[in-house]
Amino acid sequence: MTLAVFFGCAFIAFGPAFALFVFTIAKDPLRVIILIAGAFFWLLSLLLSSLVWFIAIKASNSQDLTLQRGLLIFGVFFSVLLQEVFRFTYYRLLRKATEGLAAITDDDGSAISVRQMAYVAGLGFGIMSGAFSMINVLSDSLGPGTVGIFGDSQYYFITADMPSSKIFRRVKTNLKSSSLIQKMRALMTLALTLLHTFWGVLFFEGCEKSCWWVIAAVVSLHLLVAGLSLLNPLYEGSLPPVYGITLLMGVWAFFSSGGSLHSLNALCTRRKAEGESS
């Protein structure tokens, strides 16, 4: 049962990202590096926002639950803003390095374009964000504390050298990680991964063309998505709008990066033509 939940949620959350990685990124070393650097930048933003939240928490009264919740919401929005700031920082870094990167790649003209970098960077952000929100839940769904092991479960609660915070967290997660919640989490993670990818494309495009309204739109939509997640655990209120936004972003990113109905049509007819001829 839990194994099915594990695989189901893992594939829901990471399937598309993994497919994108395998088909578009894995073969080009430069893209892999940009992907991992993107993940690193997301991590940095998370680190800084956690630091700020931590300081706020420590400075406040820990007994006041509404204050704590308010601080957490502040932490959420601050983290979103910081992620966008780091996305912009990453954009500047990539632009600066473009000449150097052009020298690194083979001179048969396969230097990476800004649009490709935008896509890869966005995917890097998305994968890291998804990993951080999903992996712990996935490993918990497999059983107490360890992945793929059939021993040690009898020591689960009794073991003396497990820190108490870990026990507490396991209890908490076991109580709340019903498979429905895990599935919702997986769906939300998938949406966020795709959203980060699309936002990456749009953001870089906006920066390239100095269209500040595009950047503002991306930031505000990210804030909106984070705000929608505040409605959880009422997932009916958060998931459908988020997926709607994802579709919208996908379409927008497609058209913004040079796609068109014509090219889509050409793709389909070419496929059909190839199918007929073969």
Binding site: P29, I36, G75, V80, D107
Partner: protein, 451 residues
């Protein structure tokens, strides 16, 4: 280790530049051989300028490929260590045994006492490392090659047989697999003998690399098990600082060793070095199998081109006789990594100038780097209360550190240590993620907010 990376890549690039400086047509010929395509549009410039620019471009050109060629084995080693830590509880159990180089215990009453003990432990360990390094440098300087090689051979023997026997035993215990001693003896015997042959003599490159990764993982697991908490972190930090000093200071032992080897123009025990040429070929083979041949004529050519250097290391006596021997020697008393580290650090492989059709020499990274990277990530997965988040964060941090190190190498073109940047990032991210990010993510998860 770091030295090895830098020097190896340095030697790659330097040799390349030297070769291409000798004749005018060499750069373009290099390009032809490299890309399998006619030399692309490079407008004829002043000869020296264009040669130097092209040399730089050649160096940088392989930068991304080199980085990936190191990412993959480092990732594999970390995956092996993390998988073992997560499934085999033996390596996280503290049964009170410690290495004799860390005699002070950490289960003291006060925090101050514990801090003091761990600092003393780290000091002892680092000084042992320094001493072993100096011993090795002296041995090398006075040409006592037999001593070093015999020592390494013995160390490798112990590692490949004894430690893998223990590892296999624990894995069987974990999965409750019934095994008789006869079958086990046959398995261990075959594993060990093939490993010794691959590492000390000749063998398929992929097999060599697999054995090197396994050996590094085993050593990292030993450290994770037998080093107490604070001692381990202090040792990691101290080793990075020592690496930095030993490589960059003019009187540093590693630098002396490298210079001695360069003077004598001989390879410095290429035994402790992982060479990644074949890994890249492996990737290309995969892409070939998936039918992308047409889009990659270059790799095919480079496959053949790059085959040449892989034969050389085997003629030079294999990759890790030194390291493996050291490991085994250390495994006996189950002690120092210093020895292996020293060996590793001291062995930037000094290769003779490349053959003319040999453009892609691959990248080399010392096994000690593998060990310490995996040790950091393994410790993160073993002891972090943030669990997988911390592990992933440390993993990304180490990879980015490695990337930055190689970038600095390409820019400065001199020996740089591979440990400091990665370990610094790794440590920062470990403590930050464990203490700052984990509570934040936990709170978000409880309330099911998404950022």
């Amino acid at each position: 280790m770091a030295d090895n990376v830098e020097n190896a890549v340095n030697n790659v690039s330097n040799d390349g530049t030297e070769v291409s400086r000798h004749t005018e047509t060499t750069p373009s010929r290099n390009e032809v051989e490299l890309n399998g395509q006619p030399p692309t549009t490079r407008p004829p410039q002043v000869l020296t300028d264009s040669e130097e620019d092209e040399d730089e471009e050649l160096t940088l050109k392989y930068g991304a490929k080199h980085v990936i060629m190191l990412f993959i084995p480092v990732t594999l080693c970390m995956v092996v260590v993390v998988a073992t830590i997560k499934s085999v509880s033996f390596y996280t159990q503290k049964d009170g045994q410690q290495l004799i180089y860390t005699p002070f215990r950490e289960d003291t009453e006060t925090v101050g006492q514990r801090a003091l003990n761990s600092m003393l432990n780290a000091t002892i360990m680092i000084s042992v490392i320094v001493v072993m390094t100096l011993v090795l440098v002296v041995l090398y300087k006075y040409r006592c090659y037999k001593v070093i090689q015999g020592w390494l051979f013995f160390s490798n023997l112990l590692l490949l047989f004894f430690f893998s026997f223990i590892y296999l035993g624990e894995v069987f215990k974990t999965y409750n697999v019934a095994m008789d001693y006869f079958t086990l003896a046959v398995i261990i015997w075959n594993f060990g003998v093939v490993g010794m042959i691959c590492i000390h003599w000749k063998g398929p490159l992929r097999l060599q690399q697999a054995y090197l990764i396994m050996i590094s993982a085993l050593m990292a697991l030993v450290f994770i098990k037998y080093l107490p908490e604070w001692t381990a972190w202090l040792i990691l930090a101290a080793i990075s600082v020592y690496d930095l000093l030993a490589v960059l200071c003019p009187k540093g032992p590693l630098r002396i060793l490298v210079e001695t080897a360069q003077e004598r123009n001989e390879p410095i025990f290429p035994a402790l070095i992982y060479s990644s040429t074949m890994v890249w070929l492996f990737n290309m083979a995969d892409s070939a199998e998936t039918g992308n041949n047409s889009s990659h004529p270059v790799p095919q050519q480079e496959n053949q081109v790059a085959m040449a250097p892989t034969a050389q290391p085997e003629d030079d006596g294999g990759f890790t006789p030194a390291w493996v021997n050291q490991q085994q020697h250390q495994l006996g008393p189950m002690q120092s990594t210093e020895d292996s580290r020293r060996e590793i650090q001291e062995l930037p492989s000094e290769r003779p100038p490349p053959v003319e059709d040999d453009e892609e020499r691959g990248v080399k990274l010392g096994l000690g780097d593998f060990i310490f990277y995996s040790m950091l990530v393994g410790k993160a997965s073993a002891t972090a209360s943030g669990d997988w988040n911390t592990t992933i964060a440390c993993f990304v941090a180490i990879l980015i550190g490695l990337c930055l190190t190689l970038l600095l190498l390409a820019i400065f073109k001199k020996a740089l240590p591979a440990l400091p940047i990665s370990i610094a990032f790794g440590l920062v991210f470990y403590f930050a993620t464990d203490n700052l990010v984990r509570p934040f993510m936990d709170q978000l998860a409880v309330h099911q907010f998404y950022i």
